[in-house]
């Protein structure tokens, strides 16, 4: 008879955290749906039911916002492509071949991963400033890729080592070249890992703020930096527009998340949770 009590407690805990999780986002959505003048008085009008899509219309036709958004997509896509390509090549080598200094190289890459971005951001800025590479797509693509590569190497090494070598050798004997054997046999089998890596790298680059703000922000502007510019541009005047902009930026990630939910979790936990 008492059995249902623990289940109810569990539900209460889950729903409480659910509300906590969505509270800030729903507040932002609410603000984005308010008419302009709702926040120009004190106290601000949170509780009336006057809602409008006007802010979304303004934001989605704002040329600057569209540019910020396009820049971000370009950077995130190219850096995902670069880090998956470069990372899988290295992972394949670690999974398939035995060679001298293999142990050393693997530990070396693991050690590099431990270097916090916060302790190299000053020199990265300074180095690229002297090379005149600041405020370019290239620099953000490079920096974002590097922040994903070590995890991708570990993740993909795991995937490649589960694919039997014999499959490739069979293709090899059937007349495929080494490269072709890789593309025809191994690559498709490793596809889930590659998808997870690509999504991981894309989201990391898409959400990056500190690098984008520090190394670019004048000609090349990502949406995260653009959002802060929006704030300065409309400061104190239009909370509603900034919220609408923030929400338009959140939606693509949410859609991606809904579709690739599973790959997402694999990528972000480095393959620790696969169900």
């Amino acid at each position: 008879m008492k059995r249902w009590i623990p289940v109810v407690l569990v539900y209460i805990a889950l729903i409480a955290w659910l509300l906590f999780s969505v509270f800030p986002f729903s507040t932002t959505l609410l603000i984005a749906l308010k008419p302009k003048n709702a926040f120009m008085k004190f106290p601000p009008d949170y509780f009336s039911m006057k809602l409008t899509f006007e802010n979304f219309k303004i934001v989605l036709s704002d040329k600057n916002w569209i540019k910020y958004y396009t820049d971000t997509i370009i950077i995130a896509t190219l850096s995902a492509a670069l880090s998956v390509l470069v990372g899988s090549l290295a992972a394949y080598s670690f999974a398939r071949y035995e060679f001298r200094s293999k142990e050393f190289l693997m530990v070396f890459i693991l050690a590099l991963q431990m270097i916090p971005a916060a302790s190299v951001i000053i020199p990265i800025y300074s180095m690229f400033a002297t090379m005149n590479l600041l405020d370019t797509f290239l620099i953000l693509i490079l920096v974002d890729s590097v922040s994903s590569i070590p995890l991708i190497i570990w993740l993909m090494r795991g995937y490649f080592s589960t694919i039997p070598k014999e499959l490739e050798e069979a293709a090899f004997i059937d007349g495929c070249s080494g490269m072709k054997a890789f593309w025809a046999v191994t690559f498709p089998l490793a596809a889930p890992g590659i998808a997870a890596s690509a999504i991981y790298a894309f989201v990391r680059a898409f959400n990056d703020y500190i690098m984008a703000r520090t190394l670019a922000g004048d000609r090349v502007v990502t949406y995260t930096v653009g959002l802060t510019m929006f704030t300065n541009q409309y400061e104190g005047v239009d909370l509603t527009l900034v919220s609408a902009a923030a929400f338009t930026a959140l939606i693509p990630i949410l859609i991606m998340f809904a579709i690739f939910h599973k790959h997402f979790i694999i990528g972000l936990t480095g393959g620790a949770l696969k169900d």
Partner: protein, 300 residues
């Protein structure tokens, strides 16, 4: 295949080259610049002069450095304990076989983690802001919130509470990572153990304290240390929300490095601070391996 010995190395070269170019070189640069007196203005003229260990001596007399270290310790310990604790509870709740809609719950819980720090920062500003914030506005008309003591306006402007507010936001954002890690741990406990315990008449509480917690200890430990390592370098949400203010009250160590370099323009001093930050990370990493080694030896 033997004659193609260079192939495995060739496959690694691109990754290695990128990592060295973007991580190793800058690190070397930081070591050198940490020994110089150099500002942002000196950068383009190639200037800066060597002053030896002067920057490092300065760190030990720097009030703001100790302030940031203190803030980091508060921020990291509250965040880590909170994240791992709630991560464990939620992972446990999601394992309960009577609970429905698990992937729905898990999906929503992941939201704070996958949203960009700028969106997260702004969303929380909109909740906490003294004049326009949702919480102060709601609290001014809600006796219930007033009763709970939530009717304050100075969440982001009171120097003695702002670092705690940041810690809670970080728990909110970081819990999903712990939840996933510990769900993986819970999966590894075989169901047969619980069934056997039930047959022997063990209640829910006994199953929790005699099976789940002992078997989860290694996962919780690894989770604690990994989160510690990550959290020492987290400053993006704080940068968005307060930039470390008011009056450095929410400035954690990594943010102090950033502000010294880019707001104050003191590249030499900031580089020396970067090296200290790296040492702090190294210390936590060593601790991590020592604890793992110790456990292995005890289990062996």
């Amino acid at each position: 295949m033997k004659k193609r010995k260079w192939i495995p190395i060739l496959l690694i070269v691109p990754a290695l080259a990128l990592l060295i170019f973007v991580m190793m070189f800058p690190l070397g640069w930081a070591f050198v610049t940490g020994l110089k007196s150099m500002t942002l203005l000196d950068l383009m003229t190639g200037g800066g002069r060597f002053t030896g260990l002067k920057n490092y001596f300065k760190i030990f007399r720097d009030r703001l450095f100790y302030n940031s270290l203190r803030n980091s310790l508060i921020f990291v310990s509250i965040s880590v304990i909170g994240q791992v604790f709630f991560g464990f509870l939620i992972a446990l709740a999601l394992k309960n076989k009577f609970v429905r809609f698990k992937s729905f719950f898990r999906g929503i819980f992941l939201l704070p983690w996958i949203a960009s720090s700028v969106i997260v920062g702004y969303s929380w500003i909109y909740i906490l802001d003294a004049n326009l914030g949702f919480l102060p506005t709601l609290a001014s008309v809600s006796p219930f919130l007033q009763m709970l003591g939530l009717n304050r306006k100075d969440w982001l402007t009171n120097p003695s509470i702002v670092i705690y507010v940041m810690s809670v936001i970080n728990i909110w954002k970081g819990m999903p990572f712990s939840m996933l890690m510990q769900s993986a741990g819970l999966q590894s406990i075989p169901d047969t153990l619980y069934e056997a315990a039930r047959v022997d008449g063990a209640g829910a509480w006994q199953r929790l304290t005699k099976i789940t917690i002992p078997l989860m200890t290694p996962f919780i430990l690894i989770n604690l240390i990994m989160t510690t390592m990550i959290t020492f370098n987290v400053y993006d949400v704080i940068l968005v929300m307060t930039s470390g203010g008011p009056n450095h009250a929410s400035e954690v160590l990594s943010l102090y490095v950033y502000n010294t370099g880019f707001t104050m323009g003191e590249l030499g001093y900031a580089s020396a601070l970067s090296i200290i930050l790296l040492l702090v990370n190294l210390l936590v990493t060593i601790l991590y391996f020592m604890i793992l080694r110790y456990r292995e030896r005890r289990l062996a």
